[in-house]
Amino acid sequence: MRWAGVYFDGETARPHNVEVEIGTGALGIFGRSGLIAHWGYDTLRRVPGTGREAGMIEVTPSFQSDERLQLEQSGAVKALRSAHPKVDKRPPANKSAIARALGWTGAAIGAMAFIVFVAIPALAPQIAAIIPQEREIELGEKVEELIARVGLISDVCTDAEGRAALDTMTAKLTDGLDLRIPIKVDVVKAPLINAIALPGGRVFIFAPLLKQADSADEVAGILGHEIGHVHISHPVAGMVRSSASAGVIGLFFGDFMGAGVMAGFAEQFMNASHTREAEREADAFAVERMAAANAATKGMADFFGRMREKHGEGGLFGGYMASHPSFSEREAMLIAASIGDEAEPILTDTEWKALRNICDSSESLKDGGETED
């Protein structure tokens, strides 16, 4: 039997009303003057995207062809599907397109990795160096406000004797050093064991860290490390790097809605790996300053040793491991750099006690929490 159809010959846009005969191995298209076309089922397929409507289908003799045939009777559609069940098969994967896609994706990832991991990290310190000091201080204040708002730090501890001890320690560590930017150190109440350096010469020692430390030398090592960050302008270079990187990473997510959010997530994960080198530089700086202050680095090594025993080497990614050299590496480096017996404690016992209790003029702090730096 014959069905009604509309045929487009792929050469002109003129529609042809035709009759269609659905055979067992092929389909015949008949016009007024007889057979127009004869399409074998081996390559005959439904045009992708058509056929959503019940009782309608559009087919092509092959995916390379411009010829089209529309069948608009449900009987015809059923007859065709039963004679040729493979009519709905999708176009086969285009192997050369897949290869090209993989090649270009690799090139795109390579280009982006070069910019994000090599070019921007190399240029960020240069950019950081030409940012005026008063702007950097302003920036530090903004970051401080932000981390206070999210609860990473709270009140500054103000006990007078503790303060004096902290100033002594800072002075000894920076003695004879031509600092890039004036340094302002404070102990703050916080939920974590940590110490951080912000842009603008701002250093915060988190109070729980003082409780975890066994000696003033341990704290001095960590303070020296943070002063190193400030002096080498790591914090502001880090900000330049992450802000510029996020803009580039955003390219990858294209016009997908929320590309900015995706780029932000990606940047957070990538950020950690940049910082290892900075941590090593800061450690080296700390060792140098401790030596200049005639203090022992053994304390700092002990501290990392204890942290390793307590916490292991740290999390897998996005955690301590990704952003810092391992505890054991740092411990080993500090032991190797130890200046030995002629060292003096950086603070007297009284000063160390005062520093340790710098926050005690108000309520006491609980211990515990994460260890960083």
């Binding site: 009987g75 270009w104 795109a108 982006m112 950097e136 990473l152 900000m239 999390g315 955690g319 994460e370």
Partner: protein
């Protein structure tokens, strides 16, 4: 299976006797001599098409979120295939023949080319931001300027790709011409537009459409851009309402602020504030002015939508291929109703959705707290993944965050495609007919076009659309 087919076959044979064939045009194919042909989008099966589109958005959106957005090329292709197919001219749907891999390759090529450019631009932007304008998000202004030479280029390439990957009645559309030249036109016209304080916006739009349309092809026939008599005058008249609203409201706001001394006082206030906190007063002032500028922008927006509907209609009515000519009459509602629906659905759904997603995020956060044995005291409004020690806890928090933002992204995709675009496209099609369609019967297939990279630049530069 075979039995069922046979039964159905025999049933249908009863309905259509073997000798029943008459040249048959279905209900959707009007007789050729009614004078004009309709363009319709899913008119008799809106529900079905909406469901199809929704399925693509939800599946595509989720897979995109799970594949670092790589799946977006597949989603976009599926969306286009459906939209093209369901847009019917004289009863025959358009066919989208582009493939996801082409989109992917185009996008990756664009990344390779743009990565260096973006790296330098972003470093510069960051320097300006940190060194000069910390209180003011400079990227709002500077970023569009940085990418502006590329935007017009990308728009042209995106149109060309879509034309080359569209068929109707088996005949390929096409486009020739140079994207760089188009970008040149765009650049000059943008300068004119800025110098005229926006007055010549309709002139710019029509001039650029002319360049674009004259490069468009259907088979071996070229599109001609022939605006109806007085079209530009007509369009300029419609532009007056939003333009004058913008200008006058800006004037009033400026006058009130100035004459009452309000602005001077506010600026003086900023100066003291800046003095005290040792910051930059200019940034505070700029932020304030930007905030104020929202007033005229918001007030003129509804009138802008009215103009936009006329602009779309005029552009469509200016297109001719051989003797076949578009005619489009679009009212304010065409552009206004989709936006209103978008805002309405957003207002209706955003709060319940945020609560639902918030609950999930809170559960993830609580789980992380439990894993690390921390208590709620470390939580102060913001969810901070770095407050957690163990990998498991971090994963829990990140999953919660990802779920939350993912949910919002899906919601935006859904709003944009189903609520806004579907309506807009339906209304535009309803208001548009084609005269002398039969003249297209003479169109012949063009010889094969060269292989082309897809619209990658448009993707990378976030010039989306369908």
């Amino acid at each position: 299976m075979t039995d069922a087919y046979l039964t159905e076959l025999s049933m249908s044979e009863q309905i259509v006797p073997s000798d029943a064939y008459k040249p048959r045009r279905s209900h959707k194919r009007p007789p050729p001599d009614t004078g004009f042909a309709r363009v319709l989008f899913a008119e008799d099966r809106q529900r079905d098409v909406a469901d199809g589109l929704q399925g693509i958005i939800l599946k595509g959106g989720i897979l995109s979120l799970l594949t670092l957005t790589i799946y977006r090329f597949w989603m976009k292709t599926a969306q286009r295939r459906l939209i093209w197919r369901e847009t019917r001219l004289d009863g025959d749907g358009f066919e989208y023949t582009g493939t996801p891999l082409e989109l992917l390759i185009g996008s990756m090529i664009a990344i390779v080319i743009l990565a260096v450019w973006f790296g330098i631009a972003n470093l510069g932007l960051t320097y300006v931001q940190l060194a000069a304008w910390q209180n003011f998000d400079v990227s709002i202004f500077l970023f569009p300027i940085i990418i502006s030479p590329l935007v017009a280029f990308a728009i042209f390439r995106a149109r060309r790709y879509k034309m080359l990957r569209t068929k109707w009645r088996g005949i390929r559309f096409g486009m020739d011409g140079s994207a760089v030249k188009y970008a040149g036109h765009w650049f000059l016209w943008t300068i004119v537009q800025i110098l005229s304080l926006g007055f010549l916006t309709p002139h710019k739009r029509m001039a650029l459409e002319r360049v674009m349309t004259n490069h468009m092809l259907y088979g071996d026939a070229r599109f001609q851009f022939e605006p109806p008599e007085g079209a530009l005058r007509h369009l300029t008249a419609h532009w007056m309402l939003p333009w004058l609203t913008g200008v006058i409201v800006t004037g009033i706001v400026a006058y009130v602020a100035y004459s009452s001394g309000g602005l001077t006082n506010i600026f003086a206030e900023f100066d003291t504030q800046a003095e005290q906190t040792d910051t930059d007063a200019t940034a505070l002032k700029l932020n304030f002015i930007l905030g104020i500028a929202l007033i005229p922008a918001l007030l003129s927006y509804p009138f802008y939508l009215r103009y936009k509907s006329r602009e779309i209609a005029t552009v469509l009515s200016s297109r001719r291929v051989l003797n076949a000519r578009c005619e489009s009459h679009l009212t304010w509602g065409v552009t206004f109703k989709p936006i209103a629906a978008y805002v309405g659905y957003w207002l209706l759904l955003v709060v319940p959705l945020m609560i639902a997603l918030g609950v999930v995020m809170f559960m993830a956060f609580s789980t992380a707290l439990m894993i690390d044995g921390k208590d709620l005291s470390i939580f102060s409004g913001n969810v901070q993944p770095q407050l957690f020690d163990s990998l498991a806890a971090k994963i829990a928090v990140y999953s919660g965050l990802y779920f939350f933002y993912g949910g919002m992204i899906l919601f935006s995709l859904w709003l944009a495609a189903l609520i806004h675009f579907r309506r807009l496209h339906t209304y535009i099609c309803r208001g548009t007919v084609v005269h002398n369609l039969a003249s297209l019967n003479q169109v012949r297939q063009r010889v094969r076009d060269d292989q082309l990279e897809s619209e990658g630049f448009a993707d990378a530069l976030d010039i989306g659309g369908f």
